[in-house]
């Protein structure tokens, strides 16, 4: 068997000072990717606006249609995409450590199924109240997460019980989603888009909703980095090192749930970001969460904004939901990771 260790040595196994240089290099590379994503997302689109025009518009907003496109369409959409990338990637990275399971992502604590059922219910049964979709989806996501935690609780939390409860609750809620879609098959179009996840028509109101969660979540996650490092040694060793394992696990699960719930309630059920991005970041930068968390956040920005630009440009003027692009790229990449690691 070729051990994981050999791979790690190949990727990040330069020690001492050089290991920190490597980590710095990876962070710079991810920051570069993120910048590319932000830049392309702002400059590419159905309307051809030259870069010089964009720079002028950014410096002095004028009342032209191009200015409208930049300031009220592309800019907020880019920001929403970036923040969603940050939130989902951080959420996945946190969950992978506290569940000690490389397959953990926001799905397993019910975020997707909870937000999904809530969102689809609004869209299909109460289409007139579509403006409520974000808060209701948020409540649905948190509700499902709390529900799974309560079901899994038995003298404390064992990760494997959370994962099993998550699978069961997600299947249960999923049956509700499918049921609604079948009974109201004439109204499923919007619901389908929501289930795939997309950034179309997301603007400043969505930015306002998501940025406080992204900011607070990022700070809390970084404060929890050393706890996450120690939880990777297992519950018993973590307890022996002075961690209140139950309390820390609940607190960090709550952070992960808030990050993911705020993201999916705004853009729908974006798959794969929460699973793939932390994995990819870990392969390059290693499993020290003080570096892995910022790396995941930067890579999350890059992946979502680049995918969304791609989704807008590839069949322009028709626009694909970003969720399709990401799953299309994400799934093969995930298989590649699996083959590498197992």
């Amino acid at each position: 068997m070729k051990s994981n260790a050999d791979d790690m040595v190949g990727a990040a196994g330069h020690y001492g000072i050089s290991r920190n240089i490597w980590r710095g290099g990876v962070l710079v590379f991810f920051a570069f990717l993120a910048s590319c994503g932000l830049f392309l997302s702002l400059t590419q689109g159905t309307m051809n606006i030259s870069i010089i025009d964009i720079i002028n518009i950014l410096q002095s907003p004028i009342n032209s249609s191009n200015s409208q496109i930049i300031w009220n369409i592309r800019m907020p959409r880019t920001i929403v995409g970036a923040l969603v990338g940050v939130n989902l990637a951080l959420s996945g990275a946190i969950l992978q450590a506290i569940m000690r399971n490389p397959l953990a992502d926001p799905h397993i604590i019910g975020i997707s199924s909870g937000a999904g059922l809530a969102g689809v219910t609004i869209m299909i049964l109460f289409p007139a109240m579509e403006y409520l979709i974000t808060p209701v989806a948020f409540v649905g996501a948190m509700g499902a997460a709390v529900c799974i935690y309560i079901i899994a609780w038995k003298n404390g939390i064992k990760p494997v019980r959370v994962i099993l409860a998550g699978v069961a609750v997600s299947a249960f809620l999923g049956s509700g989603i499918s049921g609604l879609m079948i009974f109201y098959s004439d109204r499923v179009h919007g619901a389908l888009l929501w289930m795939v996840g997309g950034l179309a028509a997301r603007s400043w109101p969505q930015v306002t909703i998501i940025w406080p969660y992204a900011l607070v979540g990022f700070i809390l996650a970084l404060l929890g980095a050393q706890y996450l490092n120690i939880l990777q040694l297992g519950d018993e060793m973590a307890s022996g090192l002075g961690i209140n394992v139950e309390a820390v696990r609940i607190a960090l699960t709550a952070v992960a749930a808030l990050l993911a719930a705020s993201a999916v309630s705004v853009v729908g059920l974006l798959g794969f970001v929460g699973l793939i991005v932390p994995h990819a970041a870990r392969l390059l930068i290693g499993s020290d969460y003080r570096f892995l968390l910022p790396a995941s956040a930067l890579l999350g920005i890059g992946v979502v904004t680049l995918s969304d630009t791609f989704a807008r440009v590839i069949f322009s003027p028709i626009e694909l939901p970003v969720g399709i692009i990401m799953a299309f790229i994400g799934a093969p990449f995930f298989l590649f990771l699996l083959r590498r690691e197992l």
């Binding site: 196994g13 404060l223 040694l233 060793m237 307890s239 002075g242």
Partner: protein
């Protein structure tokens, strides 16, 4: 003087009684081994002392203070535990691991980086791991890895070190290396060592006292050389064994046959 007093503890795991009304005192500066058949509750006792598992009734006292009244960090500064076969991420170096041992002394708003570095260096020196501190944990041999974990525990600067079968999966040379390291730490630092062991010859060679557990109860406690005898081996392990004098003057045992009930 006792450093740990286990007072009449009963421990249940999923509604099954694992330890029943158990009493045990651990003397400051001793090496105490806990032995007994598989499933008798040895590891549970160790985890209860380390506060990883809560007892249903009774109490564990550290220097006369109930362990529950310490904060998690305070307790980790006094007592360290090494569980059996602990896990670690594949890219963790020995240095990274030992540094984690300083966690009880750090928090996000405070911590003394210089002190931490000194203590990490000290722990590496005590375990002979300075040369290997940049190595990845997974690339070490079993014995070296066990020494790295012991170094992490030492970085906590505990008064008591608990170990759950520290020599499992090691070949005899590495077993001896680990046992001699523990003896050295006990003698030179006055570290109290409490360990669950399977190898009775290790208990005879390295521990002053022994506690024998059977079915959740302590049936004998005392000087190792006195406690281990024909009757005990027969009653507890159902084996017939020869007990003889080894060349270093210590007793050694060789199991000869099973005793049919």
């Amino acid at each position: 003087m006792n450093i740990l007093d286990i007072k009449n503890i009963t421990v249940e795991l999923s509604d099954k009684v694992i330890l029943r009304n158990m009493n045990l005192s651990i003397v400051n500066g001793e090496v105490l081994s806990i032995i007994g058949p598989n499933g008798c509750g040895k590891s549970t006792l160790l985890k209860t002392i380390a506060r990883v598992i809560r007892c249903k009734s009774g109490s564990v006292e550290f220097e006369g203070t109930n362990v529950q009244s310490f904060s998690h960090r305070q307790f980790a500064q006094r007592l360290a535990i090494l569980t059996q076969d602990p896990e670690a991420p594949p890219d963790l170096t020995v240095y990274d691991l030992v540094k984690l041992g300083r966690f009880p002394y750090r928090s996000w708003y405070s911590g003394n980086a210089k002190e931490d570095e000194e203590q990490v260096a000290w722990a590496l020196a005590q375990t002979g791991m300075e040369q290997m501190k940049e190595r990845l944990l997974v690339t070490l041999s079993g014995g070296e890895r066990q020494r790295a974990w012991i170094a992490m525990a030492l970085a906590q600067r505990p008064k008591v070190l608990l170990l759950d079968e520290p020599t499992t999966y090691l070949d005899i040379c590495h077993q001896l290396e680990v046992m001699q390291l523990l003896r050295k730490l006990n003698r030179e630092l006055g570290l109290t060592v409490v360990m669950v062991l399977h190898d009775l010859n290790h208990t005879l060679q390295y521990s002053q006292r022994i506690a024998v557990i059977k079915a959740g109860e302590i049936i004998r406690v005392g000087e190792t050389q006195e406690v281990i005898n024909d009757t005990l081996l027969k009653d507890v392990f159902r084996v017939k064994a020869d007990i003889f004098m080894a060349s270093n003057g210590m007793q050694a045992i060789l199991p000869i046959d099973l005793i049919k009930l």
